[in-house]
Symmetry: C2
Subunit: 111 residues, 2 copies
């Protein structure tokens, strides 16, 4: 099988406030859809769609139990975000690097 095209990545998944709230909620443990829906002011279908997107990004696992689908958090994909952020660490960790960046950008001043 060829690797899944991964329609939604973790950056997109996390971009929506509803989905971020979903992740926090699931941080407390596995929950069925109906239970989750109670925490939002939108329809069950809408919540389900958000969970689908989170699932495609690997942030959530689904598991059928009886007639309900239980969702649980998987934080592993957040490591990609963490890694991406770490690229910018040099801009906070010490003022010298910030100064260097400033000086480098200031070599062609014309006014």
């Amino acid at each position: 099988m060829s690797a899944a095209p991964a329609k939604h990545d973790v950056f997109q998944a996390v971009a929506d406030p509803t989905r971020r709230k979903l992740l926090s909620l699931l941080g407390d443990g596995e929950r069925p859809l109906k239970d989750i829906t109670g925490h939002f002011s939108m329809t069950r279908t809408a919540v389900s769609k958000h969970l689908r997107i989170l699932s495609e990004a690997g942030l959530v696992k689904e598991r059928r139990v009886g007639r309900e689908t239980r969702y649980s958090l998987d934080t592993e994909p957040l490591l990609e975000l963490k890694a991406w952020l770490s690229y910018f660490d040099r801009f906070w960790e010490n003022k010298l690097s910030m100064l260097r960046a400033y000086v480098e950008s200031d070599t062609d001043e014309s006014s």
Copy 2:
């Protein structure tokens, strides 16, 4: 209805791969739009729109110098992302918390 500001937040800003590439580029220092555009296969206008979105999120500063607009990186808003991510630290930092979450979600098993 009242016209909402509809501003862009840092999560949305960072969701687009082009914009993430822009941030890396600007990590090397301030650059004028024309220079930036050369690194992408889209039109100058499109790049400009992306920079506008980054600017609204506070991730980029614009500065007019003669007839060009120079863009520079401001990583400060990324701290919000970092802070949000830190909420999930407990899921990686020790296996015990993961185990706890698992056990808590497993109290109503019916299989």
